[in-house]
């Protein structure tokens, strides 16, 4: 029944691209399996972390509560503090010592961060950089630990400082389920951020002689102790931020009495530190639908020139936070607006100097509220009572309930669109960090991407909900291709301190990967459900990478191991190519049609050079025609009566259904695809037909699961295709679009495209250019 085999032959009318240069002759099979399951890489599931990616039945984490008294000395820019730490051992283990982080020790001249830094570029160094270099040689901003003692016994505790860590030896082993209370006293000099930049520091204003302090990573903090890592006491080298234990804080901050203080937590003594007007304004802010000044710009300005008369202590309480940060200055304007997340009230507040106006009062608190709304929708409801944005010396850094953000307008109060969007974006990003990692408490010191990548992804979603066409830098697939095709890179799954190209690796690539996962692979509904499930499972807990990978699969119902393997464990990039397209049509077997097509192909064969030159030569049989016989007139492509009759008999033997199939005119295109970049991805093909209409074909990444280098895909359409485009809407971060088209197009470099546009100016544009300065009008020659 030869007609039942549809693809009989047919005319190969179009073939593009090189023929497979060499057939693959693997030794059994030479390809790496891109779909190999991750089980052998991921840690074995256990009672603490399940194979589904959820916290296990025996999941535990430590609890550390702090009571801190700290004093800021504005005269010499130092702080001194006392803390009472209550450490509850919820682990199943007995502990004989505790580890604390001393992050400020990174500011010692002999810190590992300084010693491990490689040679700077001395030749191109500016004076500012030289001043910074010299300052780091002389400034000692490390902790002076003056006392470590057992709180109950009031006896000193043996302790050992190991660079940015401190081990405190317990007087007796601490069994599971018990608490140990101890005290630490310390002081240190705060870094001048103009000379030594960091996540904390002070900014001095020469014009009025005042300072803004942004104080973070400022007290000896308990290291995390977990089932996954034991003590997380990797030295602080600068990039890997931190991971800590959740706990409750009461912090008493003593500052000059004209300072305004912003801090993690709720202000407990409004009556002691705010005047009546300010308290009334706070009440207004609790009812207002827009920010209300608690300290006005005029009051802040006046405050700059009056000396303090003493000190004042601000008391804050924060529950279930992993850290505590604060800011203080007499320059602060303060605005606030109560925002209700359902029934839960959150006080959104901003603190900034007049140098931040008018930009900050217009956008900061509003950006906080927008961030809380969008992030809560994609994760869980924001659970803290306040959310604060502070302007000072730190460009962008996050802590629980409070973050530091740098952008300011010009001195004359004007600002560019770039500054405006830069401020909104950094506030969204840093406020967003409340969710990752302040609440979903991933280990930043080990895995930067777990908070920065996820947060940058949600930042993108929030920016796009701020206004139509918001100029987001990270999120759209085509914005990552420059990085993806570069060579000096390491996989996302790289320890924070070893990452090359830190921003693209830990922020941009994972954010883009998640956006692609959402838009192209899972779809919004599945992705959002799974992502929200991850956030909820690990809210106020400590996830590891496997918990994220497993939860996203577990909740979506889609095997994503190939995606995690490719995007997170390799540096491969996406570059899919159309290497061949072959058109097939169903043949009826009619000898007139078949031989007619063969005749046409024969006639279309190129005339060879020799045949052409031999044509005029006198032929021997023309001189002696008697030599001609049957074969000189016979053409193998002539249709015989026997062939016609045989065809007729076969047609008559077909069923009505088969005859209809023969007549329906389907066209078949065998599209050969090559995976040039290595990273497997779904195949999205857009066909444009001769009539100008289009049809999109989407095939899952599993298309590549048996051969991840070359595959063929059959497109069945009802009319001829004029052109094909791979990834027509730029969904997959394909790094080379020049091989995404059939028929192929000669690619133009970005430079050539720009030059061509320049040359394409119309006369009016050229006339306008004639009026421009010479530098723009004439290309510059510089020899």
């Amino acid at each position: 029944m030869w007609f039942n085999r549809v693809l009989l032959l047919l005319s190969v009318s179009i073939v593009i691209g090189p023929i497979l240069a060499a057939a693959q002759t693997p030794q059994k099979f030479s390809q790496v399996d891109k779909f190999r399951q991750l089980e052998e890489i991921l840690p074995t599931p256990n009672d603490f972390r399940t194979a589904s990616g959820a916290p296990g039945a025996q999941y535990w984490q430590q609890q550390v509560n702090y009571e801190i008294d700290v004093r800021l000395n504005d005269d010499d820019q130092t702080i001194s503090g006392f803390e009472k730490i209550t450490y509850r051992n919820n682990s199943p283990d007995t502990l004989s010592y505790l580890w604390l982080q001393l992050d400020a020790n990174i500011h010692r001249p002999d810190s590992d961060a300084n010693l491990a830094a490689t040679m700077p570029d001395l030749e191109g160094m500016s004076f500012g950089q030289l001043r910074s270099l010299l300052a780091r040689q002389s400034f000692d901003g490390g902790f002076n630990i003056t006392r470590v003692a057992d709180h109950v016994a009031q006896k000193p505790l043996q302790h050992t400082i190991v660079k940015t860590m401190m081990r405190v030896d317990l007087p007796r082993p601490l069994p599971s389920g018990e608490e140990f209370v101890f005290e630490v006293e310390w002081n240190y000099a705060i870094n001048n951020s103009r000379l030594i930049r960091g996540r904390s520091g002070y900014e001095h204003f020469d014009e009025d002689g005042n300072n803004i302090y942004e104080i973070a990573q400022w007290f000896p903090r308990l290291c995390a102790y977990s089932d996954a890592t034991g003590w997380q006491h990797k030295q602080f080298l600068g990039r890997g931020e931190f991971t800590l234990e959740f706990g409750d804080y009461v912090v008493r901050i003593t500052v000059p009495d004209d300072h305004v203080v912003a801090a993690t937590g709720v202000l407990m003594n409004e009556n002691d530190v705010l005047n009546e007007t300010q308290r009334q304004r706070l009440e207004e802010a609790r009812k207002s639908d827009r920010p209300v000044f608690i300290v006005t710009p005029e009051e802040a300005k006046a405050n700059e020139s009056t000396p303090p008369s003493g000190t004042r202590t601000w008391v804050f309480k924060a529950d279930r936070v992993r850290d505590f940060a604060w800011a203080s200055s007499r320059k602060f304007i303060w605005d606030a607006q109560l925002h209700r997340m359902g029934d839960f009230p959150v006080m959104a507040m901003s603190f900034y100097p007049n140098e931040g106006e008018p930009l900050w009062s217009r956008y900061s608190t509003r950006a906080i509220i927008h961030t809380l709304n969008v992030y809560s929708r994609y994760t869980f409801q924001y659970p803290y009572p306040v959310a604060i944005s502070v302007n000072g010396p730190v460009g962008g850094m996050e802590y629980p309930m409070i973050c530091f953000n740098g952008p300011r307008p010009e001195p004359d109060g004007t600002y560019s669109a770039r500054t405006k969007y830069g401020l909104i974006s950094v506030i969204i990003h840093e406020v967003g960090h409340n969710f990752f990692p302040m609440i979903v408490n991933s280990d930043e010191r080990q895995w930067t991407w777990m908070d920065e990548g996820l947060n940058t992804f949600l930042q993108y979603l929030s920016e796009q909900e701020w206004e139509e066409g918001y100029p987001s830098r990270r999120g759209e697939p085509q914005d990552i291709v420059d990085y993806m095709r570069s060579f000096d890179q390491v996989p996302i799954m790289t320890n924070s301190e070893s990452i090359l190209q830190f921003g693209p690796n830990a922020y941009h690539k994972p954010a883009t990967a998640l956006n692609i996962l959402r838009e192209t692979i899972l779809g919004r509904e599945l992705f959002d459900y799974a992502f929200r499930e991850y956030a909820r499972r690990w809210k106020f807990k400590r996830p590891m990478p496997a918990d994220f990978f497993r939860t996203m699969e577990d909740a979506s119902g889609i095997d994503l191991d190939w995606f995690w393997r490719g995007w997170f464990y390799t540096t491969e990039h996406v570059d899919l190519a159309i290497v061949g397209v072959t058109e097939f049509r169903v043949s009826s077997g009619d000898p007139e049609e078949v031989k007619g097509r063969q005749r046409e192909e024969r006639e279309n064969q190129p005339l060879t050079l020799s045949r052409e030159r031999n044509r005029p030569l006198q032929k021997f049989i023309d001189l002696y025609p008697d030599l001609k016989d049957f074969y000189n007139a016979y053409d193998v492509l002539d249709v015989t009566d026997e062939e016609r009759e045989a065809y007729q008999r076969k047609i008559e033997a077909l069923s009505e259904e088969d005859r209809a199939l023969l007549a329906d005119g389907h066209v078949f295109y065998l599209v050969e695809l090559e995976n040039v970049g290595g990273l497997v991805m779904p195949v999205i093909l857009e066909a444009e037909f001769d009539d100008g209409t289009k049809q999109t074909f989407r095939f899952p990444a599993e298309l590549w699961n048996k051969n991840n280098v070359r595959v063929k895909k059959l497109l069945i359409v009802d009319r001829p295709i004029r052109s094909l485009t791979l990834d027509p809407r730029l969904e997959t971060a394909d790094c080379d679009l020049s091989n995404n088209r059939y028929p192929p197009e000669i690619p133009k470099s970005r430079f050539e495209l720009f030059e061509r546009r320049q040359r394409g100016d119309n006369p009016m544009q050229r006339a306008a250019k004639a009026d421009q300065p010479d530098e723009q009008k004439q290309p510059e020659e510089n020899k």
Partner: protein, 176 residues
Amino acid sequence: MSRISMLIATGMMFVGTLAPRLHPGHESFAEIELNRRTGNLQVALCVWPEDLESALRKFSHTAVSLDDADVDKTLVAYLKKRFIVRAEQDGAPLGIRWVGKELDLKKTWLYFEVLDAADGAVLRLEHRLLLGEVDQQQNYVVFRDGDTRTSMLFDQDHPIRDLRTGQTVSRGKGSE
């Protein structure tokens, strides 16, 4: 910005001092292609506008804006100092022909040519764009000559690298 050239006497060692890493995000990307027909390097360089604006201000000691009509003059002067190609290790900088720029809120693209670059088998690129003015700046370059493509990273530690023409070997795909 004032610069200190040849600051350090031979043999003098500094302990390194990179500023602590805050949230990063200062990067530029350049496509550089050797046009064999003209012998020039065609450069398309993408940089974040606020970084470039900040650098130009420090460089020129004036309140430059990328929106200024005459900003190209400052840009070219800056490029001559910060993007230098030599045909020989200690040779004179090759000339620059300014072509133009594209500016939007997300990115600024600069287009220019480095003249007469086809003679050397190895071109030395000194790419210090923003390195003196912006903390944590990293500059990525993809260099193409014919079918070969090489990518490289320029930063404070490595502001100078060689572009190998002709015999440039394209590096393999990333690995697991």
